[in-house]
Symmetry: C2
């Protein structure tokens, strides 16, 4: 499909917006009228700029409060439309978006609206332009695509079609049954936008919280698939009103925007194919398939000499064994249970550059999947860059995708009867694994602290590049601000990543407590089968656990009606407790901080508990603030 974006979705002035749109690879754009108004040049100049950049102008928008008015007002509105049609001719754009009237004075009369839209269609015919009539979710009288379609159908002019917008339909929970029945040639334009589900006034929601398809929680795929099945054959166009995007660099938004459309198109294709609509599916571009399942192969830390010593001590206390050294690099492999951790001390590598900026931090993760080349191709098609590292003789060339913070996600497969990645690349100490099983089973999840203004980019990255699924965001209370937390997992549920972002920039830049980083803390959570047993073992080995305030235990005893002996075990080992609505339990505990931005967690999932102990996050954050001193 042709790809398009409304200029209102981007920050900056019109020329730089168009440059960003073209650089991202869109086919064209919707011109938001204010962008023309603020541009100090003639419409013809905009036409030339677009032409020079290879961009088509698909739509001129918005034209407001046209229908359901008095006869005198109609004449003024038609005159206003005529002037816009002149501008459109100068711009070289064929379609104008007309939004349903939002004035409280609107005359609530379908026959009148049909007459007036008919007059507009006739004017459009004379000017050889086309109208896309769109129902705003907060339209004063017409506020659903069904009502708008009723009017458009009644007018019956080829110069008046329906304008679709996924947000306006999905935000009010409207069904898509009628959409499937509308003739494709009557669907004049389709705008797409996603949004997180919020309980708020729909106008405010639309104006400030829209996001790119794949970043939110609306079924944009179902909406688009339905319109395509009905025969829509215009461009797929982003119209995103988002407070963050208004301040973000246009280049980044445009690049993510095109990714979101490619992802959306492939998802719509899959949806149509599953519905056996091969004809409609055939018009859409596929992406190489996302991995059906994924496993966390290893986590890689960038270290200098100090960090290497610190982390090695921590890992040894946590029962990790030094299992190998890389054949050609200063890279060490540690393993415990199914958890593999790599310390990369290689100078002049991507890792060392990463370390310079971030302190002790994850510089790479590896997903074990079935078809790494296919997945890498998918990421490339979505505009994500691949990293090509130096590869020694006989070492494996493992593709890696660059994440929004330039950390790497390696894509690894292991074939039967072939050497494993570790065998290829490492001198292994003891290939048969640790002689004694430790208390850690493997990695449960990884929590990444990301800047607030990149959270949406991260969500799109995991969803689009790897086909991961995202959960509803939760807000965590840090003593110095709020943290938005979004959990992501692989489709099979095996890889779990939690993204934490400070809502207020002051939270991570607080000067109140030196080196305080708020959500700047990342951590790795290890799974255990018996957390109390594990902590006893680890404490014996010198792992310092984060002390939890004693009042917490009085509170959970009362809140969950727990027996004293059990609470005493939790209290003794500083274990936090959560129980879900089905009675499934989660026990977890934290180590003290490894450095100013990193720590470990131990978890025990009982039964089908599926979360991360979010109700306890504030307790943990407060304990960290207390013991940071």
């Amino acid at each position: 499909m042709k790809t398009s974006i409304a200029t209102v979705s981007l920050s900056g002035m019109l020329p730089s917006k168009l440059t960003a749109i073209a650089a991202a690879g869109f086919d064209g754009f919707e011109l938001f009228e204010n962008d023309l108004l603020y541009f100090d040049g003639a419409p013809g100049t905009v036409r030339s700029m677009a032409c020079d950049l290879g961009l088509e102008i698909y739509l001129y928008q918005p034209f407001r409060d046209f229908e359901g008015v008095s006869a005198a007002q109609l004449q003024q509105n038609l005159e206003r439309a005529r002037r816009k049609f002149d501008v459109m001719h100068a711009l070289g754009v064929g379609t104008m978006l007309v939004c349903s009237n939002v004035s409280p004075q609107v005359i609530r009369d379908d026959a009148l609206a049909i007459d007036q839209l008919g007059a507009l269609a006739e004017l459009a015919r004379q000017s050889d332009v086309r109208i896309a009539y769109e129902a705003l979710a907060w339209g004063a009288y017409v506020n659903s695509y069904k009502h708008a379609w009723h009017l458009v159908q009644a007018v019956g002019s080829p110069y008046l079609g329906l304008g679709l917008d996924s947000f306006h339909t999905l935000s009010i929970g409207d069904d898509l049954d009628m959409l499937a029945q509308i003739p494709g040639d009557k669907l004049a334009f389709m705008q797409v936008a996603d949004a997180p589900v919020r309980k708020m006034d729909v106008l405010e929601w639309s104006r400030h919280y829209r996001c790119l398809p794949g970043q939110g929680e609306l079924d944009v795929t179902g909406f688009v698939a339905t319109a395509l099945a009905a025969g829509y054959c215009g461009p797929l166009s982003l119209e995103i009103f988002n407070d963050g995007f208004r301040a973000a660099p246009a280049e980044l938004t445009a690049r993510d925007g095109l990714r979101s459309l490619r992802f959306l198109e492939s998802q719509a294709r899959d949806a149509l194919a599953s519905a056996a609509n091969t004809e409609a599916a055939g018009t859409l571009a596929p992406l190489p398939p996302a991995p059906a399942s994924a496993d966390l192969q290893f986590l890689e830390f960038a270290v200098d000499a100090n960090a290497s010593a610190t982390l090695t001590t921590w890992l040894e206390k946590l029962g990790f064994l030094r299992m190998g050294r890389h054949r050609s690099k200063d890279v060490t492999l540690f393993q415990h249970g199914r958890a593999s951790i790599i310390l990369n001390a290689e100078p002049d590598s991507f890792a060392s550059a990463f370390f310079m900026h971030h302190g002790v931090s994850l510089c790479a993760s590896a997903f074990r999947i079935d078809s790494p080349q296919e997945a890498a191709m998918r990421a490339t098609k979505l505009g994500y860059a691949l990293y090509e590292g130096r590869v020694g003789p006989n070492e494996r060339n493992v593709p890696a995708v660059l994440a929004p913070d330039s950390s790497l996600f390696y894509l690894v497969d292991e074939l039967p009867d072939a050497p494993t990645l570790y065998e290829s690349d490492f001198h292994l100490t003891d290939f048969d694994g640790p002689t004694e099983a430790g208390p850690i089973v493997g990695v449960d999840h990884v929590t990444l602290s990301v800047p607030g203004d990149t959270l949406d980019s991260w969500v799109l990255f995991f969803r689009a590049a790897f086909g991961f699924v995202a959960e509803h965001s939760v807000v965590l209370h840090d003593p110095f601000g709020q943290i938005q937390s979004k959990a992501i997992r692989s489709r099979d549920g095996t890889v779990r990543i939690v993204l934490n972002a400070s809502v207020d920039p002051r939270t991570i830049h607080s000067e109140t407590i030196s080196a305080y980083k708020g959500s700047g803390l990342s951590h790795v959570a290890f799974r255990t089968t018996d957390i109390a047993f594990a902590i006893r073992r680890l404490e014996d080995d010198g792992v310092p656990m984060l002390r939890i305030a004693q009042s917490y235990y009085n509170d959970i005893a009362a809140r969950f009606n727990l027996d004293d002996a059990f609470v005493n075990v939790l209290r003794k080992h500083n274990i936090l407790y959560d129980r879900d609505v089905n009675g499934e339990e989660f026990l977890h505990a934290y180590t003290e901080q490894v450095d100013h931005r990193f720590f470990f967690e131990l978890v025990e999932r009982r039964g089908a508990y599926d979360g991360y102990g979010a109700p306890n996050a504030a307790v943990r954050l407060a304990a960290q603030a207390t013991h940071r001193g």
Copy 2:
């Protein structure tokens, strides 16, 4: 009245919260249970800390979902309450807040709720504590103070009173008639919070957007006055859930918090006094009265040699005359019409320190009022610092109040038959004023760019210290983000100040365009009686006006149905146009930027137009972004 604040209103850990509360001068606090939970120490330790700081613990809160439950649940809830009462005894706090049940499973039966609250009151009697039962605005069954009072009254126990919260009542638009009738001894506690009016879910509104009394738009004064008239005699306690406060330093929030309570108390006193309730008014502490009227006496810029030359050139082109030099300082007075501008080049003064940080900027403003000493005393009582400058022989000692950014607001009076401030402090060039009247009448308004996280502090400053009134905020669209704009004016409407704050910190730190400052731009708007005439004069004198995009004029011609000749005048002089719902008109134009953060505006108000041309702000911001290059 005793002053109190809920610990949940402040950032940080409990010990630092209490230190901030004591330092600000509160009498006591409400202990939010989570703060105790996160504190790694016994309740007795909190009691000692509070005692050492001279703070009383007025309330333990919140206790949730007590009433309207099954018999079995009631027993659990009573047991839970009993445990809390034990904690309260250890803390030394006598009152517990019980919030109305928010569970969808609540049993909607008054008789049952009365029985169960009666059982709680009986338990409270046995433990010698008191319950304040509060209706949450989103309570599942009980959601108004009227309903809560019906239950409390029916129980009829001295151990069960009504908990009031201004937000819960005002947010749902409830009237106060019944409140006035409740016996004072049944009003167990009163929490106060203000909020901007927002169209959103009341729970979300309450949790994220509350602000200090005086910073929002609810009639908190009327609420408090009614409760006091009814005989409430407990503390006035702030409970502010605010995303910004969660990340702000606790000391600043606490200091503004106490100011807001002093201001609220004095306003409630005035309200009761006007209602001839001298008895209730007599229990409240007054503030020295705010000035009934104010005029802008002068604006003072901090300048170094370069800035002095730049501004002098600009002022001379704008028709200002150099009217005097300060008797003892390197300070120059310029005047044009009723506008006075002072350039302060004094080294080692507050102004020079100010200039170092801000570039060309307003370092002081002077309000001409009737009783400067009284107004200064008022500001002092509210905890605002006064500035005492160096005063030469025979010069006037003018009190000045420090604003949130440490700029000064001088308070000046002029008495008949006494030398004016200018006569006292300046060698005047020409005391009789300019020989020829220029096109500028005086200052219309001043727009201050303030950091987003200080906007609420600024609003409170103007409202509390000077008794100014605030208008509803509007959002302005900058090409690189959004700006929240709040207009403030003196009670008589003469002094007008507009506060602009970038919503997203990236807007003022954008690296896209070098030296781009978003809302970082401040400006002074001069009033004219004929803006086209004024601009012709000023352009002749070399004042460069900001060029407006030509499309703007086509748009307003169509939008307002303006005649061509008029539009041509606007277009020729780059004048922007607005018209209000009553047909009153506003014409305004901007100069090019004086430096990277300052410019001038010229305005002509026709008839009773009362705004600032907000619909044109985006046009101005876009033009500035364009011509900044």
